[in-house]
């Protein structure tokens, strides 16, 4: 059973990096979720500190802007006592890759203990990890993976449903361009959760049926009987006119409103990785309504990132290497 246990008697986490859910087996996934669950009280206590990373240097290297993920990692590191430096890299498309390798070498020379990387290109974080001697955490690489998001989503679901196995989770929207969808499908699939993807054909990538249990193009059918409805952000500036005709048509057929949500289970929860486009993929009254757990996702995000940092960097892991 996936019950939380204390952080005290853990065996070392057997990876130096967290590049993707695809690298983890189900036991490692559950281990991280358990560790994260144990971290939740620390953020709720008056003195929010568990200084297991005291003296460690953490660099947040974000090639794509992201206020919420970057602050979540920053707060997580600081609550563990690490020294955190944020680096936002402005990139021109021509020199992007050059900057990546060069930046990796430069940062590596500063002897960090962990680098947290977000990059617009799939595989870029793995490439960077090959050029540095410290731990690397993927904070999102193109449309590939966003492992800490999937972990925090799983923790949020377990907090509300008490379990993961046996649930049905519907992931809706821009599957084709979503790293959140891929990491979630991998994680939930590894834990025998029934997964559904729901989107118009133009937003479903070829071969998605190998990652999801079921594929739907109709929201009502896709949501029927679901325990969890996970909405994805639509990059509507890119998609409109190309992959979908218009925002209003998208909202009419794929936006989550009360009428569509009624097809899910009565106690179904609503999730969104943020930032939300209210009125594009989700009705504001649903986003801010009683079934929305979106703010809890943000709180679990800090706990998950603390757990991942602790698992990768705290001393037992170091000794095990």
């Amino acid at each position: 059973m996936d019950n939380p246990t204390s952080t005290g008697s853990r065996r070392p986490f057997p990876h130096r990096n967290l590049l993707g859910i695809s690298e983890l087996n189900q036991y490692e996934i559950l281990d991280l979720i358990d560790r994260a669950e144990a971290m939740i009280p620390i953020s709720r206590q008056p003195r929010k500190i568990l200084p297991t990373l005291s003296g460690k240097t953490q660099i947040n290297l974000f090639f794509e802007p992201s206020t919420r993920t970057q602050s979540s990692f920053e707060i997580a590191g600081k609550r563990l006592g690490a020294q955190v430096t944020n680096m936002s890299v402005k990139t021109s498309s021509v020199t992007k890759g050059e900057t990546l390798i060069d930046t990796a070498a430069t940062l590596n020379a500063m002897q960090p203990d962990v680098i947290i990387v977000r990059h617009g290109a799939a595989g870029a974080v793995e490439l960077l990890s090959q050029k540095v001697g410290c731990s690397v955490i993927n904070a999102g690489d193109g449309a590939h993976e966003h492992p800490t998001q999937a972990l925090l989503d799983a923790l949020t679901i377990r907090q509300h449903k008490g379990r993961l196995t046996g649930l049905t989770v519907a992931i809706c929207g821009d599957i084709a361009n979503s790293r959140v969808a891929r990491s979630n499908l991998l994680l939930l699939g590894a834990l025998q959760v029934r997964t559904r993807v729901v989107a118009p054909r133009t937003l479903l990538p070829r071969g998605i049926e190998t990652l999801a249990t079921e594929v739907f193009t109709d929201m009502r059918e896709g949501l029927a009987g679901a325990d969890v409805v996970m909405m994805l952000r639509l990059q509507h500036e890119r998609a409109a006119g190309r992959l979908i005709p218009s925002v209003r048509e998208y909202y009419r057929f794929y936006g989550l409103d009360a009428e569509k949500l009624a097809f899910a289970k009565p106690d179904a929860i609503v999730m969104h990785p943020g930032p939300m486009n209210r009125g594009v993929e989700i009705d504001p009254t649903i986003a801010d309504g009683p079934r929305s757990v979106i703010n809890q996702q943000v709180e679990m995000g800090v706990a998950v990132r603390m757990a991942v940092l602790d698992a990768l960097l705290a001393e037992p892991t170091q000794l095990a290497q």
């Binding site: 992007k96 890759g97 799939a122 490439l127 690489d141 990538p205 070829r206 071969g207 190998t210």
Partner: protein
């Protein structure tokens, strides 16, 4: 003048004549003087004798698709360094793609390449010329003047002409000068941001896919235009099962031929994972089903030509996130060994593979090459079809290192390469022992 050469105890394979027999080849004055069954006779006293010990003697390979960096990007590859790599791979003639700086879209640049190749390169280099000025796909070039300067065919190289109107005009005009149009078909609006074959692997990797139709839609267009204009048309490099069907259907209606990169015959999309940029190619490596269809197409004669698609790129543009890395891989040195995989696996007969590497490209381009015949240029190779080797980066002859076969186990190696009767390459394994 070079001494006469006699190669004895050879398994002589010549696809043009259908010969596959043990015998000897006599060479003098740069041409083939004799091909005899069994032991050589009438050997001149001053002749150099090579004992092939049962290895294969075949025409030197004719590679229809080679990029270099000269002029413009000599740090990637020069004509001379590409020729060294070609000689090591048994390629005695290659067609230089026009994607240089400046673009080969003017007779003076064709002339430069002809002269520069003669002065510096140890194998035959045949220039192609751009179909459109600056490879921009808009205005056609001076086909007549380019042919006079020495261009053997017209191609926009890596680029694909998007406008049907421009292609129709190019084909109509090229027919006047009997120049083949060699075209890589890729519809830009269907390729989009795609960087690898569309499918499950691309989806799992988070990489945008290139659909099969990106190749077949403009190919179907070109084949209709070729039938309408009477142009000689060579589909430069096909990669999908659907393309095989299009070519098969079009061949009875005109002078249509098709080529394929050895990469699309020897590799598939699984080789890309995870994010190996040396396998980022154009056309992309396709599914195993498509690769199998390509092999069937080669056996059936729908595919005429196998080429290396030799495309040197420096590590700076390859050590990038996959989507941002340049396309292309070198291939001159591994062309024959990679092609022999198809023979060793039992998929394709030796004669068929060699025909696609020698006779057919020479015929399509109208070159006096690719055959073993009395009076033909003595461009020939001796190769051991079974010689096992592993390609190590340190042993790469090309100036660039972006091979898709690094560390690959290969079977079959060129032992000697002759161009116009002159030895231009000898394998290290031949330096002890004989000769």
């Amino acid at each position: 003048m070079n001494k006469p050469v006699v190669i004895k105890n050879a398994r002589i394979i010549d696809p043009a004549s259908g010969m596959d027999q043990v015998g000897a080849v006599h060479v003098a004055d740069g041409v083939i003087k004799g091909i005899v069954a069994g032991a050589p006779s009438g050997v001149p006293a001053e002749a150099e004798i090579y004992d092939a010990r049962g290895q294969v003697v075949a025409p030197g390979l004719v590679d229809m698709r080679v990029f270099t960096g000269e002029p413009g990007h000599e740090y990637r590859e020069t004509l001379a360094s590409a020729a060294e790599a070609a000689a090591a791979g048994g390629v005695t003639t290659f067609v230089l793609m026009p994607d240089t700086l400046p673009v080969v879209d003017d007779g003076a640049i064709v002339d430069f390449i002809v002269r520069r190749a003669a002065a510096t390169a140890k194998v035959n280099i045949v220039p192609s010329a751009a179909i459109t000025k600056g490879l921009r796909g808009e205005e056609i070039t001076e086909f007549g003047l380019l042919k006079e300067a020495g261009a053997a065919c017209l191609t926009d190289g890596r680029r694909s002409i998007q406008s049907a109107g421009v292609m129709r005009a190019a084909m109509s005009y090229a027919a006047n000068f009997d120049l083949p149009i060699v075209h890589h078909t890729a519809d830009a609006s269907l390729v989009g941001d795609g960087v690898m074959n569309e499918g499950t692997l691309a989806t799992i990797s988070g990489l945008r896919g290139i659909p099969l139709e990106a190749e077949t839609v403009p190919l179907a267009r070109d084949l209709q235009l070729a039938a309408a204009t009477g142009a000689r048309y060579h589909a430069a490099q096909i990669s999908t099962a659907a393309s095989i069907e299009l070519i098969r259907a079009a061949k009875p209606r005109g002078e249509i031929s098709a080529g394929i990169s050895i990469n699309n015959l020897a590799l598939n999309e699984n080789d890309v994972a995870p994010y190996r940029t040396y396998f980022k190619l154009s056309p992309p490596l396709r599914s195993e089903d498509d690769r199998q269809a390509m092999i069937e197409g080669l056996k059936a004669g729908v595919i005429d030509v196998i080429h290396s698609a030799h495309d040197p790129q420096d590590t700076e543009v390859k050590r990038q996130p996959f989507a941002e890395a340049s396309e292309g891989a070198i291939g001159l040195e591994t062309l024959l060994a990679a092609a022999l995989r198809l023979v060793h696996s039992g998929d394709v007969p030796m004669m068929t593979v060699l025909r696609a590497l020698t006779q057919r490209p020479a015929e399509i381009l109208g070159l006096d090459a690719g055959r073993l015949a009395i009076g033909a240029p003595a461009d020939l190779i001796v190769f051991d079809p079974d010689f096992p080797w592993v390609l190590a980066e340190a042993n790469i002859v090309s100036r660039s290192r972006n091979t898709a076969f690094e560390g690959a186990r290969l079977q079959g190696a060129v032992m000697h390469t002759f161009v116009a009767g002159r030895l231009v390459f000898g394998h290290a394994a031949t330096r002890e022992g004989q000769q």
